[in-house]
Amino acid sequence: MDFFKIIDQLSEVDADVLGRFDSRRAVFGSLGTAAKRSALAAAPLFLGALFQKAYAGTTATPVEVLQYALALELFEQDFYKKVQASAQYTTASAADKAAIDQIKRHEDAHATLLAGAIRGLGAVPVTGVTFKQAAFAGLVTFKTGPAATTQLGVAQLLEDTGVRAYKGRAGELLGTDLLTVALQIHSVEGRHAAKIRGMRGQRAWVNPADDLAAHPVYTSGVTAGSTPGAFGLVVPPYTAASPREDNTVQSNVPITTGLGTPYTAADAQASFDEFLQVAEVLDNSRAGIFIGA
């Protein structure tokens, strides 16, 4: 069979067919794997899946990606707003308060910037994405005690998740100036995550010795109770779990053993942050459980 002839014929009928393929980024991964295996016999089956995917839905628009980013920023903004208003914050050190203030200032700026960009594209920015009051009330201390009941413990989860969330959608902004803005926000979230981790006495980077290393945020994909559709967010189809933070294989290269020099698993995990898909971020195992009134 002539795969490329089919593509050519299709593109004569539908000039945008190749755009459809490109919009379904995952297809590239499958194509690469299949081609590498040289599995000629499996090709027709694979091609069927390829075309099905290409025509199965429309690609996310930049507005959808920005709305998602804005929702996460609003969520973080509200979290830090609640922290600043809490009794725990008033007893924190001046340095810790200053760090929270600086982070909150950035989340404010990001929310303003993203809302402006969304309006510029002719859409109405999402609003009202807040950190659940009841969940916040359970964060009994500022930073001492078990991570799950401290404000900074949850802040670490949120920042690390934010870093992963931006990565998960960068590809949908490929080649655009919006991508640059998203990356400029993304690295700020990385700086925030590092600082929060430092305030908690954790390493700035993901590490198996983290007190949160066993948390679902780092160790699993969607578990249950996904909350798609909240706030009008468009949740792209979810098929497979994103890599866990303890992943040691990047671009098919086993980092611990495949680079000539052996590296430890901890170093391999820490040297690459992983991405997360929308459904995973909004799932109740991650940010979803904290989103609400």
Binding site: D8, G29, A35, L174, H186, A204, D267
Partner: protein, 252 residues
């Protein structure tokens, strides 16, 4: 590469348009067919290397995605070489690093060595024969016996240099992102840049507590980190590299 995929040009600001026009995209697939390999696909976003540039511009990093990968490889070589020297330091009181700092820098050294070796492996796999040579670092402006430079010092201390390298790395990846044409490479760059941002914040806290994302690096109004073009980044890094590098075709 024999195939010519043109840069997207004005499409950059036109979000609703497909990434390439159909005819260009068709040649993308045809090229993949000609070499029948998965690796061809990841190369397909690259245009020809413009190696007919004037000879004294320095070693060309290359064009298209290979150029971006070589550009990242150059920066990671520099960072890895720097931290390898830091790792070799003996912690001492006074001007030296504290033990906990040294321990963490040993981990940073491993991260950067992994990044360097990863790019080397990826470029050799996806773009055989196109990899940038090994670079020779020039650290004469760094005093490895000093934790931080004092006002009278002309050379950088270890932490000064680390801060400069990490902030530059973040700005470099942020600026290079939109030059990348292959989604898989963009994901990898994103996976690395946030680690560089973590390093940057960590080092900044050692230099000046509270400066992890201070107003000199993250714009106070927009809340955005810096993004720099390859030419500007290489100009900033050139003083630490013996070989002259030409980043003018990166991503083009």
């Amino acid at each position: 590469m024999s195939d010519k995929i043109q840069p997207r040009g004005s499409d950059d600001t036109t979000f609703a348009q497909p990434l390439y026009t159909p005819i260009k995209r068709r040649s993308f697939f045809m090229y993949a067919g000609a070499t029948a390999g998965a690796t061809a696909l990841v190369l397909a976003g690259c245009s020809d290397d413009n190696e007919d540039v004037a000879p004294n511009n320095g070693i060309p990093l290359g064009a298209g995605d290979v150029g971006v990968l070589n550009y990242a490889y150059a920066l990671e070589q520099l960072e890895a070489a720097f931290y390898a020297q830091v790792k070799a330091l003996t912690p001492v009181g006074g001007t030296g690093l504290a033990q906990i700092e040294k321990d963490y820098f040993n981990e940073v050294a491993a991260h950067e060595a992994i990044h360097r070796d990863f790019f080397k492996a990826a470029i050799n796999r996806d773009a055989p024969g196109k990899i940038l040579q090994n670079l020779t670092p020039n650290f004469t402006n760094i005093d490895f016996t000093k934790r931080l430079k004092s006002a009278s010092d002309t050379r950088l201390g270890v932490l000064d240099a680390a801060k400069a390298f990490e902030d530059l790395g973040v700005a470099a990846y942020n600026g290079a992102g939109k030059l990348i044409k292959t989604p898989a490479y963009l994901v990898i760059a994103g996976q690395i840049v946030s680690v560089e941002a973590r390093h940057a914040a960590y080092v900044r806290e050692l230099v000046t507590p509270g400066s992890f994302a201070s107003d000199d690096i993250v714009d106070r109004v927009s809340g955005l980190d810096k993004a720099m073009t390859p030419v500007d980044v290489i100009a900033a890094a050139q003083g630490f590299i013996m070989e002259k590098l030409d980043a003018s075709t990166v991503g083009k």
